[in-house]
């Protein structure tokens, strides 16, 4: 009985589940896995089991599996690779560490089943992306079809395809969208296309669509995508959208406070009731002497609380 029990216990201890590690154990596991040839192992999944056993450490084994699953995401999977990843879907292997925010909780560092799921998902994206690129090559694409009910795989595949295609194709896709389905275009799609190559039609659409995370993120980087005057024009256009007003004004002062057209616009907004407090806060930090003079001049003849606030803050500076 004993002879049977011992190997079973050893096996059980090596059939990993949640493994809590200390910082030292984590470092040791990282050192051990850094010696592995991940490319060779992903190419030959039959060798994985032995390589993991040779590591002789539950933490290092989990970490190695994690690296393998990441490495496999960029391959076109073979039947063996696919089978190994699917096998990991049922894994309960996790690497955890004490949560510094509360010692009685654990912070999950690695979850093998989730990583396997991510790898399978990425393979779906890769496959779809290749199909999309093939369609684009023969100029066969219908945005309304894509926008009808896009899944997360669809979006990520399109993003991947846009990222790997040429500028000419991006231009064609942008024109096609303007022509076919601009009003239906989501902010997510608009920003994907704009980020590759600025298009004024798409930008105008983005500023008029209901705002979401994509509108704010794109507006934040608009000055890096366009020359000054064009960027100022886009910031002015975006300021028409109430949710983007404050951001537009702050970015105008942050990036273009020395440009006369930006200064005039900011001063104009400072005097309009619906934008005065946002403009005042934005202008309260400017350093351009000409702009400061304009604000102070305005404050001398106005009793607006917002204008006085902006002027006071500048005085304090």
């Amino acid at each position: 009985m004993k002879t049977l029990l011992l190997p079973l216990l050893m096996l059980a201890s090596f059939m990993l589940s949640a493994t809590e590690v200390s910082h030292i154990q984590l470092s040791k596991a990282q050192a051990a896995t850094s010696k592995l040839d991940i490319n060779a192992l992903t190419a030959n999944t039959n060798q994985i089991a032995q390589a993991l056993t040779d590591l002789n450490s539950p933490a290092a084994s989990i970490m190695a599996k994690s690296l393998l699953l990441k490495g496999l995401r960029h391959t076109e999977p073979t039947a063996e690779q696919s089978a190994w990843v699917k096998e990991q879907l049922g894994s309960s292997d996790k690497l955890e560490i004490a949560n510094p925010d509360h010692p009685r909780q654990k912070l999950e560092l690695i979850n093998i089943a989730r990583q396997a799921k991510n790898t399978l998902f990425q393979w779906q994206v890769n496959k779809k992306s290749a199909q999309i690129l093939a369609s684009w090559t023969i100029q066969n694409w219908h945005w309304p079809e894509f926008l009808a009910d896009p899944t997360e795989v669809d979006y990520r595949a399109v993003a991947q395809a846009i990222g790997s295609t040429d500028r000419q194709t991006v231009s064609w896709l942008q024109d096609l969208l303007t022509e076919q389905a601009l009003k239906q275009a989501s902010n997510r799609l608009l920003t994907l296309l704009i980020a590759e190559q600025v298009d004024n039609h798409l930008l105008n659409r983005l500023w008029t669509n209901p705002t979401d995370q994509y509108s704010y993120q794109m507006l934040q980087r608009i000055h890096t995508l366009l020359p000054a005057e064009q960027a100022i024009g886009q910031l002015k256009a975006a300021s028409q959208q109430a949710n983007l007003l404050s951001q537009s004004l702050l970015l105008l002062t942050k990036n273009f406070q020395r440009v006369p057209s930006a200064q005039n616009f900011l001063i104009e907004k400072l005097q309009q009731p619906q934008s005065s407090w946002h403009a005042a806060a934005a202008l309260s930090q400017v350093s351009d002497k000409n702009l400061i003079r304009k604000i102070r001049h305005l404050a001398d003849s106005s009793n607006s609380g917002a204008i006085q606030f902006a002027a006071q803050q500048l005085t304090l500076e």
């Binding site: 989730r114 991510n118 934040q220 806060a281 609380g305």
Partner: protein, 608 residues
């Protein structure tokens, strides 16, 4: 020469920290894909779907303070690199509640851990909600007028700025990242350059820098300055910790009754128990109230008395004997909760698309908590109308720290005549959902009120229930706040004779929005002292923290005792024995308390 150059190159290389970059989808090389767009700091004063830059948040606070004279900026101190740490006192100009009591104070801290971007957004969200709802005559206006609230939106400014300087970059390893976007500690002995490895692990964990348990837990706080939980050179050694303690002074230490330190993630209210039975019970109950605001999606994690890790919630719980929490904002598990890849530590990076909702939910919970702690409910006033005319009006009015029942209009009531009774409380009593009176997560329901007349004539004493089926909480024609008044029609029984009646009292049983029952003796003004409510009598006149049925509103008063002889006289409950810090308990009574708390925790958790 060649040798030295080679050596210099090697030395420089060895000092370069390994850097990794968070991306949405790209996993190649040193990239780590989150599976959702990496949030970048946005320059916007107004709240957005995402996280605002430090400069925007700071400007936003100043902008709101400039527009509202009830928001007062407080200079609480400076960080290591001399940035001003701002707090904001939020309150009306007087120091008394609508009920005539001295206002209490509350303190909420944000941004103590740099990488927890949810926190400054949440605390700024509280300020914005109070600003937007300041004159909407409900919970927020009530809080403004009846509590002194101090908010610190961002305590660890230097660290927060470091995370925003590198919003998608980290050092060390992707599995256990430390600097850049994942900096937790302050910037003591740290420069702002991410690539210099020699200092990327340094800094002090401000949530290990506090008494009474500073440096008492070797497994959970460390004297190694490279540790992620380095406790610093001494308790409150850090200027940020000192600023936080200064905020309590500014809030009014003797008036303090609520503290929360706002963190992320794991979606839970942690709280230390102190061993003071009444304080601990109130703390557990209040956590339940805040959790109820979001249908118990947040969990509850009490930490038994006798040990700690040097956290700020321990400092406030033990120094002031007040309910004191560490709120860990969502997610519960990781970015995978929102469809992300669930990579290590991505719980600290809430997807930008979730931020607006998170802000609303944390605001709703915190408003409920502040509302509950501002003051306990009591029946302040009644009016009786016949048609449009007020024929009876009586109110509790404060003078020299005591309340007296003052008759403002006194006409005789007669039998078999329909009147309208309006009961007016000291606070809004019900939740509003799109301006409709609604239930509050099982803690209060619209119909949860019972009223009866107690009539004594000669030796004969009777009670007559008032039918409340057609009664309503008022959202128009209320006294000061929507739902602070309840209106119902009634008639007195056949045979009622005003002149032949020696006692006519209104017995009323209800709770406020958060389930707190009425103070049954408004004559003695309630307050918060030493870890519990004072003068908060229950149905038997006992000084508990639960309240009861109020029978004090007497229209005809025979001078009889408010609490008849068969109930005990008001007696201060005996304080339980408090164990020495670090003793870990031991007495049977202490064990009993712990079991009670655990049972309570179980019941609250099971509600989730």
């Amino acid at each position: 020469m060649k040798y030295w150059l080679t050596a210099l190159c090697l030395m420089t290389l060895s000092l370069m920290a390994a850097e990794f970059t968070y991306t949405e989808n790209d996993n190649s090389g040193n990239n780590v894909a989150l599976g959702y767009p990496v949030p970048l700091p946005i320059d916007s004063l107004t709240p957005i779907d995402g996280f605002r830059s430090y400069n925007s948040l700071n400007l936003r606070h100043k902008q709101l303070a400039e527009q509202a004279d009830w928001i007062i900026p407080l200079n609480l101190g400076t960080t290591i690199v001399q940035r001003t740490i701002w707090g904001y006192m939020i309150s009306d100009s007087d120091n008394t509640t609508q009920g005539g009591a001295l206002e209490g104070s509350a303190l909420i801290n944000g941004g103590i851990h740099a990488r927890e971007w949810q926190s400054p957004e949440a605390v700024t969200g509280y300020m914005e909600r109070l600003f937007e709802q300041q004159d909407k005559q409900h919970i927020e206006q009530y809080i403004l007028e009846n509590l002194n609230l101090v908010l610190i939106p961002i305590l660890n400014i230097d660290g927060f700025l470091q995370t925003q300087r590198y919003p998608n970059m980290i050092t060390s390893t992707p599995d256990y990242p430390r600097d850049g976007r994942m900096r937790r500690k302050n910037m003591r002995e740290v420069d702002e350059v991410l690539s210099t490895e020699n200092d990327s692990l340094l800094g002090v964990d401000l949530n290990r820098n506090n008494n009474p348990y500073w440096a008492t837990s070797p497994n959970n706080s460390s004297d190694d300055n490279t540790s992620i939980v380095h406790h610093g050179s001494g308790a409150a050694s850090e200027p940020e910790t000192q600023a936080l303690q200064n905020a309590a002074v500014q809030a009014g230490e003797d008036r303090l009754r609520f503290y929360t330190d706002t963190h992320s993630f794991t979606q839970i209210y942690f709280t230390p128990m102190t061993g003071d039975q009444r304080r601990d019970a109130i703390t557990a109950n209040l956590a339940g109230i805040m959790r109820a605001a979001n249908d118990y999606k947040y969990r509850y994690g009490p930490w038994e008395a006798g040990s700690g890790i040097g956290a700020t919630d321990e400092y406030f719980a033990h120094t002031y004997q007040i309910p004191s929490y560490t709120l860990e904002i969502e997610p519960l598990n990781s970015g995978a909760d929102y469809g992300g890849n669930g990579v290590s530590h991505d719980g600290f990076i809430l997807p930008a698309s979730e931020v607006s909702r998170m802000r609303q939910e944390t605001s709703a919970a915190t408003m409920a908590g502040l509302y509950a702690m501002a003051e306990v409910p009591f029946l302040q006033e009644i009016k009786i109308l016949q048609g449009e005319e007020i024929i009876f009006h009586q109110a509790w009015q404060v003078s020299n720290g005591e309340r007296n029942l003052v008759v403002l209009q006194n006409s005789e009531l007669v039998a078999d005549t329909e009147y309208q009774l309006i009961t007016i409380f000291n606070k809004p009593m019900r939740q509003l959902d799109n301006d409709q009176v609604s239930n509050f997560a099982g803690l209060s329901t619209v119909s949860d009120i019972s009223l009866e007349w107690q009539i004594k004539s000669g030796e004969n004493q009777e009670t007559h229930a008032i039918d409340t089926s057609s009664g309503q909480w008022l959202t128009n024609d209320f006294s000061r706040y929507k739902t602070d008044s309840y209106q119902v029609s009634f008639s007195l029984p056949a045979g009622f004779d005003w002149n032949g009646t020696s006692l006519l009292a209104l017995n009323i049983q209800t709770t406020d929005m958060t389930g707190q029952a009425l103070d049954t003796n408004p004559a003695t003004v309630t307050d918060w002292q030493s870890g519990h409510w004072t003068n908060y009598e229950d149905s038997h006149g006992e000084l508990t923290d639960t309240g009861g049925t109020d029978k004090s509103m007497r229209l005809i008063d025979d001078g009889s005792d408010l609490y008849p002889d068969d109930t005990p006289n008001p007696v201060e409950p005996v304080e339980p024995e408090t164990p020495e810090p670090g003793s870990g308990g031991g007495s049977l009574s202490w064990l009993g308390l712990l079991l009670l708390l655990m049972a309570n925790r179980k019941s609250l958790v099971s509600n989730a």
